[in-house]
């Protein structure tokens, strides 16, 4: 028998049962929505959290010299990191790791606690140390492969190569300039992982994009020439107790830099141990007053502009000359010097006179033409352009002083490049260091061709100037120490006072001594510049820098198997005349050079213009040249008695 409340209870219970049915449907509907309708969206989010993207440090390509000798290579090493969120027991982990990382537990603990999650414990560890940490088998501690840069030749070419920091980017030198070329793309690994960051499901393995290997560089640099330059530069700096030094060796025809040496130097494998001075590539980043080496460009542009003739004489005022309210001195007094002699004896007064004949506009134009006041665009970071004041702001004595390299500044690479233009017949080249880019399969990606920036002087002018510069190294010149056994050398000494930072005036004792030149004279293969900063033994470039030039040239020419020239003269034994030797009779070099006797018209037939010019120069004849090619006709005829006043001409026709 069922009473009324009981009946109601049954109804209400059925109602409850129905409500549970509804509840169940609701749950299933929601579940269907999530599991079927929203599936794709949720799966995508889940995948993202299940996958860890491990960046793979790209490995840097190697850097080789022109012969393929490795200068910088990358080796793979382990870097250890901690994901602090996943460390099960942070203090315990810190205690275990600290001794292996060479730190204290407290320090490490503080470091771990300070980081949000990811923290490097050690970058590029030795393998044994990494293994010890691996053996601890700590959760939240992991390893990635990172490449470490290694410079197998230590200091050799350190400044050119530069170095890389902890992260794979290059910080200096070619490493920095060609960073994006050398550096491969950063790859990544996608690994399945759980919330503790541990990789799961090894079966599936990891997928992702492995980093592409970076390209390799082949430099124009020659490891051996570089080594020679560094060794000789160091010797020059050390024996002269100087502060610093630069040596640049360049191929004049192409602008290829064969060597770029700096002193003091550093070991890029441990660059962090050095001060900034040792790390600086002075050859491109330091500008200094060039001094007398500037006379090369002065004379070249004066000849080019035909304001002087190669034989013109200038009154050298007996060593003291007043211009623009300032007195210019030559250390030695000359009454009169011709143009080759002005270079040979490095007369400032003579240079000032040539400068005044040329005028400021043309001098400024010529100097900018040679690349002064502007960067050479050598492929290195941190190049400065030196200082060449706008011509409109030249006042008073400026024209005179700039004529002999004072009141301007230039970098070593600028001077070497400008002298190369004289050496190669008048083309200003872009100096460069990277010859070609090769990918890791050996395929050439890019090859850099020599680049002519502009023609600055005619080949004739270049030849004439080169010939004059030979006189500097010849007996009686300021650069006799630069002579090279078996080769004819053209060059110029430079001695510049340094500006004293304290007084803003010229320092009484501090000098920059330099020598720049090229060799062999007829077909120059090397332009070499040696700069010695603040030598204490002697201020003169001919004493301090020229011997290093000679030593570098001698060894480099031998190494490069450049055949010695025929009819070479012996190395001058006598010491150099520094900047201002005592007055000498006009052109002491009369006599017989190459069989030409003074006073007798030589036979030029069949000679090249260059050969004719050389003979003319030796004999002091003033000659007019017509045409180009080989000499076919001359006046007066061979063997005639002639004097320097006679009109002489030679006609050339192109050889078949």
């Amino acid at each position: 028998m069922i009473d009324k409340p009981e009946k109601w209870a049954r109804v209400r219970m059925r109602l409850a049962a129905a409500l549970f049915g509804l509840f169940c449907l609701l749950v299933l509907g929601r579940s269907f929505y999530l599991q079927v309708l929203q599936k794709d969206r949720l799966v995508k989010i889940a995948e993202k959290q299940h996958q860890r993207v491990v960046p793979l440090t790209p490995s840097r390509g190697a850097i080789y010299d022109r012969t393929g000798a490795p200068l910088a290579v990358s080796i793979e090493m382990d870097s250890c990191y901690a994901e602090t969120r996943n460390l099960e027991n942070l203090p315990d982990a810190a205690a275990k790791l600290a001794p292996l990382l060479g730190t204290t537990k407290d320090q490490l603990e503080a470091k771990l606690k300070a980081s949000k999650n990811f923290v490097w414990l050690a970058r590029r560890m030795p393998p044994e140390a990494a293994q010890k940490i691996r053996d601890l088998d700590l959760d939240g501690v992991g390893f990635v492969k990172e490449s470490k840069r290694f410079y197998p030749n230590s200091e050799v070419a350190a400044h050119v190569l530069g170095f890389t920091g902890m992260d794979p980017g290059g910080l200096e030198g070619v490493e920095k300039k060609y960073d994006s070329t050398i550096l491969g793309n950063t790859g990544f690994l996608v690994t399945e992982r759980d919330a503790l960051g541990r990789d799961v499901d090894q079966k599936k393995g990891t997928e992702g994009k492995s980093g592409t290997k970076g390209n390799n560089l082949y430099l124009t640099l020659d490891k051996n020439v570089q080594y020679i330059a560094e060794k000789e530069l160091a010797k020059a700096v050390e024996t002269n107790q100087a502060r610093a030094g630069i040596a640049v060796v360049m191929e004049p025809d192409t602008g290829r830099i064969l060597a770029m040496a700096n002193y003091p130097t550093f070991n890029p494998n441990s660059y962090f141990k050095y001060q900034g001075g040792a790390l600086r590539n002075r050859a491109i980043s330091d500008s200094f007053e060039p001094g007398s080496t500037f006379k090369i460009f002065l004379v070249a542009s004066a000849l080019e502009n035909r304001v002087i003739g190669p034989r013109d004489y200038f009154n050298c005022e007996n060593g003291s000359y007043n211009v623009g309210g300032r007195t210019i001195h030559d250390t030695h007094r000359y009454a009169s010097l011709n143009v080759p002699q002005i270079l040979k004896y490095s007369s400032n007064i003579g240079a000032a006179k040539i400068g005044s004949r040329l005028g400021p506009e043309r001098l400024y134009q010529a100097l900018t033409g040679f690349g002064f006041g502007d960067r050479t665009d050598v492929d290195l970071p941190g190049e400065t352009g030196g200082y060449l004041r706008q011509q409109s702001k030249w006042y008073g004595v400026d024209l005179a002083t700039i004529s002999f390299g004072q009141g301007v500044s230039a970098t070593a690479i600028q001077i070497a490049t400008a002298v190369s233009a004289v050496a190669n017949g008048g083309n200003l080249m872009r100096p460069y260091l990277v010859e070609k880019v090769v990918d890791d399969t050996g395929q050439v990606v890019k090859e850099i061709a020599p680049q002519v920036k502009r023609r600055v002087i005619s080949p004739e002018t270049a030849r004439t100037v080169a010939r004059m510069l030979e006189g500097v190294v010849d007996e009686g010149g300021t650069g006799t120490n630069a002579a090279v056994e078996g080769y004819r050398v053209a060059g110029k000494t430079g001695t510049a006072q340094k500006v004293d930072a304290a007084t803003h005036g010229y320092s009484a004792s501090k000098r920059t001594a330099s020598f720049v030149g090229f060799v062999p004279l007829e077909k120059p293969r090397l332009t070499i510049l040696v700069v010695v900063d603040e030598p204490k033994t002697s201020p003169y470039g001919g004493v301090v820098a020229a011997p290093a030039f000679s030593a570098i040239a001698q060894q480099a020419l031998c190494y490069l198997k450049v055949p010695p020239e025929k009819g070479i003269r012996k190395k001058v034994q006598q010491g150099p005349r520094e900047e201002a030797p005592p007055p000498q009779p006009v052109m002491e070099e009369g006599g017989s050079v190459d069989g030409v006797e003074t006073g007798t018209m030589p036979n030029f037939r069949g000679m090249s213009m260059r050969q004719v010019l050389r003979v003319m120069e030796k004999s002091g004849l003033n000659v007019k040249l017509q045409g180009s090619g080989r000499a076919v006709e001359q006046h007066p005829p061979p063997g005639s008695r002639i004097s320097t006043q006679d009109q002489v001409w030679v006609r050339f026709v192109p050889s078949a």
């Binding site: 209400r12 549970f20 169940c24 599936k39 759980d194």
Partner: protein, 368 residues
Amino acid sequence: MKRLQGYDIIVLMMAVILTCFGVVMVYSASSVMAAKKFHDGFYFLKRQSIYALVGFTTMGICMRIDYHHWRRVAVPLFFTCFFLLILVFIPGIGGTAKGASRWIRLPGFNFQPSELAKVALIIYMAYSLDKRQEKLRQFMSGFFPYLLILGVFIAILLKQHDMGAALTMVSVAIIMLFAAGTRLQYILGMGAVLLPGVCFMVATAAYRMRRITAFLDPWQDPTDSGFQIIQSWLALGTGGFFGQGLGEGKQKLFYLPEAHTDFILSVCGEELGFIGVLVIAAMFLLLVQRSIRVAIAAEDNFGRFLAFGIAVLIGIEAFVNMSVVTGMVPTKGLALPFLSYGGSSLIITLTAVGVLLNVSTRMRGNPA
């Protein structure tokens, strides 16, 4: 005494199947974590298996105990539970985990008195509702005393940070009252009075508030307060229709908090897909419907209310847990009966099913 009739075989089957299935899922959900934490992947499997065996034993015993005996222990059991719930707060006896203290530490086992209290409340309510049948329609004598008792329970449970148990007990008690004949307006009125109170409690406890805001917009703080529900969604979504396969889930690998306890359904959803969830929900619904059928057909009011209360308890816990897991209701800390890891819950639920099965043997009319 009448000769025992057959038990409701479907209820029995559902309980056994769900329990066994739960043991498997607990293993799947916990093995990696257990291997890491306890260096024993079988840690939770072993324990849950023992609990299941104990539960089956107590269920078997209760199946054979005439449910009328419970009438006599109703009041003492009820007060014992009060005592045990208070015992939790005594240092040295009570155990604390994750900011909540709801356990009594026993050797090798942490006993959760609130689980026992749920069943004790049902037995007491069944006893009391049966006794007061006539007065139920009055407020002061029929409704108010229950409110008082519930109020005390809730206060203690909230003190234990056991909102889930509190709400479950309130829901079960109110549904029982409703079925027994309490006027609907009392219940609705009480709801109107309690709602502001619940809001106040939520707003004043930071952890409760966080759960609510996380529920409303879990993506706002996906790594912290919204983490659990998002991970649950990701698990379900990854499972799709057919699931990743048993043991293949990834969310349980430390992403999904409480994967082997409150969020075991997420693991089921990921590994067995929507199909798995459907089957589980269907089994629960079947269990609940059959249990209510037992209640309706019970031979007396005590048995009816007893069976109904147990049915409602299982139903409420199951479907609210599923709602939490699917993100329809804020997280509460509510286990899924039979499936979630936990000794107290499993043993007591199985025991309660045993009691219910005993009721089913004495049904009027047509037995199963």
